[in-house]
Symmetry: C2
Subunit: 102 residues, 2 copies
Amino acid sequence: MVKLVAVYRTPEDPAAFDKHYFETHVPLAKKMPGLIKCEIEKVVGSPMPSAETPYLAAHMYFANMDALKAAMASPEGKASAKDLMGFAGKYVRMHFTQVVEG
Amino acid sequence: MVKLVAVYRTPEDPAAFDKHYFETHVPLAKKMPGLIKCEIEKVVGSPMPSAETPYLAAHMYFANMDALKAAMASPEGKASAKDLMGFAGKYVRMHFTQVVEG
């Protein structure tokens, strides 16, 4: 299993961000073909008070890297990416991961 | 569901890090009471070539924040934290998250 992980830093207007994110962006992202699971988490604290923490993260699971890259290249993936860059381009960082346990 | 998330930046000696991490640290962390699931992922790339990406992340799932904090305060949690600080204190950042979808 592999993941496309999107990590967001705290936006200037969290309420407006959340509204667009959950009402518009997540439904678009969930249309990507091959998406097995989408887990979204909000950061609520840290055991390291001085640590810089993200605001929110999304974990999109795919069977393998071919499926992930096909999803990103699909019309649904491109629509999701376009929406993302429009409302959160300056807040988001993305990476690919291989699940090695769990 | 809540998570204790540990994110590691690339260590100076990845092979030595991996050996200690998978052979010693993960078995210790998995002894924490109340741990529901432990997912470990290795970063394998990014669609944003210029983005700083982590090296590895662990996602430890608990029923709620009380269970998570009890796990960290337990003898098993303290043993895991002590081991962590010994071999990876300068590489790791941790935060708590609330799973809001997925």
